[in-house]
Symmetry: C2
Subunit: 121 residues, 2 copies
DNA sequence: CCCATATCTGCATGCATATGCAGATGTGTA
DNA sequence: TACACATCTGCATATGCATGCAGATATGGG
């Protein structure tokens, strides 16, 4: 099998893994720094079980790494740059959607780049 | 509904749209320049009907644009930069996969950046 | 040991997507 | 008009993922 096809599969796996609103918000939350499951759950207003379910595949694909401290599991982005990379994708979001929201995309994008990240290396 | 959630939805839609090996190869093919459906089908060794099916959602989300010339429909990337952006994602592909292929990721990545693109601007 | 907390894993249902194929649409040519 | 070519659209089946919930595991305190 040609390498080109292998690459496209791995890339597709990665994209599929990221292609969920909750997981994107989760990654955005981790951009602000290390967080435990309950804290993420509270920030995203979702049950902790759901967060754990989302974290499992992200952990398997090394998108996030975890560290245990007592009963809590702290998660962080393996590649902090992935958050910035995701924001760049807004460039390619359909124009109709941008205008439909009644707000400039730059404003919306600011929501993802604000909040003083701790680990933005 | 908070804008942050809206953004995560749109972004997830985009990622889901791209998260298919054939569509990624299709985009990579278009990076080389404008192509008609049959030419893409031949390059990817897939039936033209399948290519058309993949192009439909890409067209709907303005990832690609089309131009008709006689019986042929020529497609091109709306944002040529999306191809380079996708290549950057290889940075985040699980390390185990990289080593498992027995080849340096840089070599594989070269497959996606070679071939003298016409519209890489 | 018993219990509460924090998180993980497994399972069932429902929904979305991929695929293959048939048929429709549009275009060029005789 | 008839026909071939290029592409699109619609439909049926199968597969995969999301969700919600129950139960399992691990840790800390009494």
């Amino acid at each position: 099998m040609p390498s080109r096809i292998i690459v496209s599969r791995e890339l597709a796996d990665l994209l599929r893994l990221l292609a969920h609103p909750d997981r994107l918000r989760l990654i955005e939350e981790l951009r602000l720094g290390e967080r435990d499951v309950s804290t993420i759950a509270a920030a995203l207003d979702l049950p902790a079980t759901r967060i754990s379910q989302h974290l499992a595949p992200l952990r398997a694909h090394r998108i996030v790494e975890d560290r245990r401290e007592g009963r809590n599991h702290f998660y962080r982005l393996t590649h902090p740059g992935i958050a910035a990379w995701l924001v760049e994708a807004l460039e390619f979001v359909e124009v109709r959607n941008r205008l439909g929201e009644g707000a400039h995309i730059e404003k919306v994008r600011a929501l993802w780049t604000a909040d003083a990240p701790e680990n933005q290396g």
